[in-house]
Subunit: 180 residues, 2 copies
């Protein structure tokens, strides 16, 4: 995708993504991507553009983070000719899992991945809609690397630059279509 096409896509995406005040709790302005999915050509261009920076990186697996990461990550995997691996909340995956815990503002959360989903030699791209504090993405990197696979990078539809996500993924390759 050339520079002009990318600038035009960014403009259209900024027009489509809508702010929902006070969701999921008071004081938070949620960036709702569902209008992007509702525009069929835009949805397709968006996942293609999220995949494109990694087209020459030999990605073998795209990891999607539950649940919006599934909607973007599954088409990205198909654009790259890669497998798809879901990373899920605890108790959702049926076979043996590797679990990672991570800190939230208050308390802990956890993610799980099937132990037999990844191994040494695999080259992984992590996909999600938003990079905010980076806690979830960093935990996903950790659990993927514990299984011996390599995290080549992370691709997000948007990055919220007023939150410390970039610091949480410091030293890693991060691509985004929009920065707020």
């Amino acid at each position: 995708m050339d520079h002009a096409a990318r600038t035009e896509l960014e403009r259209v995406l900024r027009g489509a993504i809508r702010d929902i005040p006070d969701f999921p709790k008071p004081g938070i302005v949620f960036k709702d991507i569902t209008p992007v999915l509702l525009d069929a050509p835009l949805f397709h261009r968006t996942t293609q553009a999220m995949a494109a920076p990694f087209a020459e990186d030999g990605i073998t697996h795209v990891v999607g983070i539950e649940s919006r990461g599934f909607i973007l990550g599954a088409p990205i995997a198909q654009h790259l000719g890669a497998a798809f691996v879901p990373v899920r909340k605890p108790g959702k995956l049926p076979s043996l899992v590797e679990r990672v815990q991570y800190a939230l503002e208050y308390g802990l959360d956890a993610l799980e991945v099937h132990r037999d989903a990844l191994r040494g030699g695999n080259r992984v791209l992590i996909a999600d809609d938003v990079l905010a504090t980076g806690g979830t993405a960093r935990a996903a990197c950790e659990v993927i690397e514990r299984l011996g696979a390599r995290v080549v990078g992370c691709t997000f539809l948007m990055v919220l630059s007023f939150l410390p996500g970039a610091a949480a993924l410091s030293g890693r390759r991060v691509e985004t279509l929009i920065t707020y």
Copy 2:
């Protein structure tokens, strides 16, 4: 896809899908589709084959049911050149929603869809991994039709014929790649 290719895909899928005994609770044998997603060409062929029966039906929107329906439904939407609409558990969608309740074996569950996601004139395909009792798919049909859209059909990777899913969707067009 011709008959021979479809028979071959079915054979490969039956080999890939694995049984997980006693998940999510004792006595249930869970059909795990994650090995299908782990085989990149098979994942691509599977979503193409789930889309193919509806290629000439003017589908405008694919509705994916949280969460495995997202993994299959998002690529199916892109194969058909359709928009993608997530149907989610309560409290997950940020804007105004239409909610439908439905009976489980014990108690009630509910699904939500954004009210502005669908309207009269839309032609909808519902996508999910498994048709079991049909309660979820029937509830999705109901909430989609309440918004004025038409449910053209439902596409599943597999149907469990020993459960009453077909009866729950009686009179509707249902396509599946595998019947157990």
